[in-house]
Amino acid sequence: MKIRYLVIALVVFSFASVFIGVSNVSPLDLFNLTEAQQQVLLVSRIPRLFSIIIAGMSMSIVGLIMQQLTRNKFVSPTTAGTLDAARLGILVSMMVFTAASPLQKMLVSFVFALLGTFIFMKILEKIKFKDAIFIPLIGLMFGNIIGSISTFFAYQNDLIQNMSSWMQGDFSMIMSGNYELMFVSVPILILAYIYADKFTIAGMGEDFSKNLGLNYRQVVNLGLIISALVTASVVLSVGVIPFLGLIIPNIVTIYQGDHLKKSLLHTALLGAVFVLFCDIIGRVIIYPYEIPISLTVGVIGSGIFIYLLLRRKKYGL
């Protein structure tokens, strides 16, 4: 797949995304918009587009980095407890600071996500049986434990309703003024690109890294911080988008290999295109109502994931 096709797809879907919706804004009106149409575009449609693209790109790249650092193709924020820990973090921030600002929520959530991922990495070091499927299973169990702790405290504090809003990823609530935190991801993703070579080397193990004079611990820690920060900002603004960090990097690996310098851009673009596509489907399938993104991505994503599992041998995942 050429990068060109991904860019074209991104542009086409972005265009479609902006002009699909209940209030009628047609591309033909673009040069003489009424005030209402202008409002719709600026307050809702364009923020939505931005948040989709950022979420798609960043969750895919985080998945890629986590897979590289754990040396396991099935690890991602969904299967390493990162997402659940980030959610617990948001809950805690709401319980402790009753009027927490989005930034405070994100920071607390980031600390929890980082801690959760770190514990998962420690568990990985301890277990001897490093089977490709076993490791994400442990991650899922670990995530579920954190998830049940969150549910327990949410019940006690009447926050279940609130919490379920970040359980399910949803772009329909995105409006200008409540998603801007997501832009935190942009400089972080650029940092990830600068570190691409180092992440790739770290993915070949500690001994290999040391032989090349790379500070393994430092690179792994940076990767975990990037993952936690990006996950926290996306979960807070959009909610959980399952499987994204799992399937996109795996698809890119098949045709682009594992050198991060080569695969990072593809992963980012494919992630954005995939989420845009799922979002458009979710918006048109029961028009004028919408299906939340976590459902469309979940259904399409888990289908692709099962397919990847079955083809595992062939592609050497």
């Binding site: 040396r71 180092k198 790739t200 290999f208 032989n211 050497g316």
Partner: protein, 251 residues
């Protein structure tokens, strides 16, 4: 020169390396032989700072390896471990390029690309340089790893069982290449090897280990000796001289 003085290492209070002292001169091939569990791999991992020693001193050209910057050492000494089973989908050229990382930190300059080309040609991998590692045979993959080490261009090269899982043809090919690296490029090579006949035919000196201690070290002809080998392996090994090479018959 690699210099070890009274080096100790223990795991769970059991000594795996006990009071090892050793000098290795430049421009030679040194083979480490000995039965399983003798501590060969541990020793070679300590020399390449992958494992920390408990006691003693290890210096390379007079520099203490534990007090030298990691990145500086990476330009002086490289190690290829038997466990370097990489499960990433990388092409040969990408892997070899990583050998330049200590110099380029990822941004390959013209000089780096020349070194990479050189290494690929040296190991005769030009035709398959864009193939992925998982598409290669064991021999090709081993050659790719050695090409990476050549691109890393270090004076000292440490190899942990480089002939593992290779057939005779590929084993001979690898050993000849190592010999060439020493003779033509003046490298110093240390390797762990199980086949004593390969050790006998290709190395300048041999270090024989048993239970973490050095049983014998010296020129190849001194170590490949009936009594010495009996000491190391608890086996009667007949030694025949064929074309000035000492061949051990132990079957």
């Amino acid at each position: 020169m690699v210099d070890l003085k009274n080096v100790f290492k223990s795991y769970n209070k059991k000594n795996v390396i006990e009071d090892v002292s050793l000098e290795i001169t430049k421009g030679t091939i040194t083979s480490f032989i000995g039965p399983n569990g003798a501590g060969k791999s541990t020793l070679i991992s300590m020399i390449s700072r992958l494992i920390a020693k408990d006691n003693g001193a290890i210096t390379i050209d007079g520099q203490d390896i534990m007090h030298t910057k990691n990145n500086e050492l990476a330009k002086k000494i490289s190690i290829l471990k038997q466990s370097n089973a990489i499960n990433l989908k990388l092409t040969i050229r990408e892997l070899v390029s990583f050998g330049r990382f200590p110099y380029s930190q990822g941004k390959l300059k013209k000089e780096d690309n020349e070194k990479i080309d050189e290494a690929i040609d040296y190991m005769e991998l030009r035709d398959i340089q864009d193939k992925y590692l998982d598409e290669l045979s064991g021999g090709q993959r081993q050659r790719a790893h050695i090409a990476m080490v050549i691109a890393q261009d270090t004076e000292y090269i440490l190899l942990d069982e480089p002939l593992n899982n290779l057939d005779m043809r590929h084993s001979v090919q690898i050993m000849k290449t190592l010999r060439k690296l020493v003779n033509e490029m003046g490298k110093t090579i240390l390797l762990v090897i199980h086949d004593i006949n390969f050790a006998s035919c290709y190395s300048d000196q041999i270090v024989a280990l048993k239970d973490g201690k050095i049983v014998k070290q010296g020129r190849t002809c001194d170590v490949i000796d009936k009594c010495v080998l009996k000491d190391i392996y608890d086996m009667d090994i007949d030694i025949k001289e064929i074309d000035n090479r000492r061949i051990c018959v132990y079957f």
